[in-house]
Symmetry: C2
Subunit: 290 residues, 2 copies
Amino acid sequence: MNDTKTLRLMFPQWQGGGNPDYVLGARLLAWLAPPAAHHLEVEVPVSLPNMEELEIENGILARAALLRQLDAARDIIDQHRPDKMIVFGGDCLMDQAPFSYLSELYGDQLGVLWIDAHPDVATPDDRDRGHTMVLGNLLGYGDAEFAARVPSPLAPERVMFVGLGRLSPQEAAFIARHGIRTAAPDVLRAGAEPVTEWIQETGIRHLAIHLDLDVFDPELFGGVSFAKPGLDGDTRASMRSGSMSFEQIANILSDVSKETDVVGLGFAEHIPWDAINLQNLMAGIPIFRA
Amino acid sequence: MNDTKTLRLMFPQWQGGGNPDYVLGARLLAWLAPPAAHHLEVEVPVSLPNMEELEIENGILARAALLRQLDAARDIIDQHRPDKMIVFGGDCLMDQAPFSYLSELYGDQLGVLWIDAHPDVATPDDRDRGHTMVLGNLLGYGDAEFAARVPSPLAPERVMFVGLGRLSPQEAAFIARHGIRTAAPDVLRAGAEPVTEWIQETGIRHLAIHLDLDVFDPELFGGVSFAKPGLDGDTRASMRSGSMSFEQIANILSDVSKETDVVGLGFAEHIPWDAINLQNLMAGIPIFRA
């Protein structure tokens, strides 16, 4: 018998990225997932999508709603005290409560693999969207009010980035200052060794994985903001999008699952343009309302 | 009170196009649709996806399975005798039973708007996939065995094409021989007048609409076979893909809904690559099976 308790959190948070389309993205991820079987599934309550209501509050868009949702997620987690968690987001900030809980649960045996085109280590001085700050918060930096909700901050040596794209000066400086390990897409073409080496060298026994879907090459995956249909070439070129393939990511996830106990997996930043366009099209056709 | 009886048919047929990925496409369309409210929803039983089992049978891939599924769809329709039908496909052939039924029900007051990059008027002499023949069958041509299951064939003057791309010689000859009206994507940029004029001139009172999602420009919609991620440029250029926008199609659907009673609407050929890739990725990650 398997007595591991796994909690699936459906967390359709959208305010951290300021885009209501994250809601359908979260729901679609949960719908696509393998059947839950023994897993418990809980949805984190999220304020209804209404961009007009959102304001920058002390440097962060919709700060109060984001803090409220962070606390709601944590309450759900504390109620169930799972061993493992799968999170269907929602903007990247949705991984703060689950990863903070896992850090308390597993202490210095926990590693965090951040698979993302962006390091998410901004502060309100750099940006005004909460989803750009989540890993910073988890490390004890980012935004002070969010970081204060991480009782057991991650140690930088037990965090590793996979798939980062072009970095801003602030991001590059943060990563260098804290000596956080990175594996660029090119390095990973041959296999996941840089990641498994990090796991072995740092003695990581349990691993939480943040998978921002924007790490995929937008030519291979269309369900992220950077792959919005109809964007002009200049806008596209200005974006810091990902460059990885499904095969690469699948190999990494498979290899680290053999090397360590994967206790957290969050899917972030899904914006399923095709599904959104189909849903909008259908919503306007009278036969559906007959 | 509204006493119209609308049947939603979930028809995950995939053998007509020879691609098991149509199954998820059909399920996703049904999931994305506005809540059914008063509509009845029924799924047509379809043989499990196993491409290895399929063979060309008397000129058509999986002929026997397709005929069996056609009959199953018709049985469901006859059992409920709806006034209107919404169909979530599946390959294009899934619209044969619903449109054949509507033709019997509404006779010469029924028009059929075929929104598609391809006219679907092939015969087994031209092609071996059933989904290329469905409108031909409905007009009394196509494949003899399939056409024999259309007791009340459509009259060519009450059929109109929207969005056709480059035609094969056989397709062009068929359309010319039967004098079927067409409105090219360019003509429709200004509005849906060519379509509403056809409705008025032919006295159409009830309209069935076949919407093959490949009518969309693959740069604007990625959920069809032609938009498969990672296809090389030559393969892409050789394909006869669509060129229409969501706004154009929404306007046409809205305009014809004002002009006539839309009694049928089928969504065909959805292959949601992003969802398929995500689902395959998730299926391989051990945490989902813990």
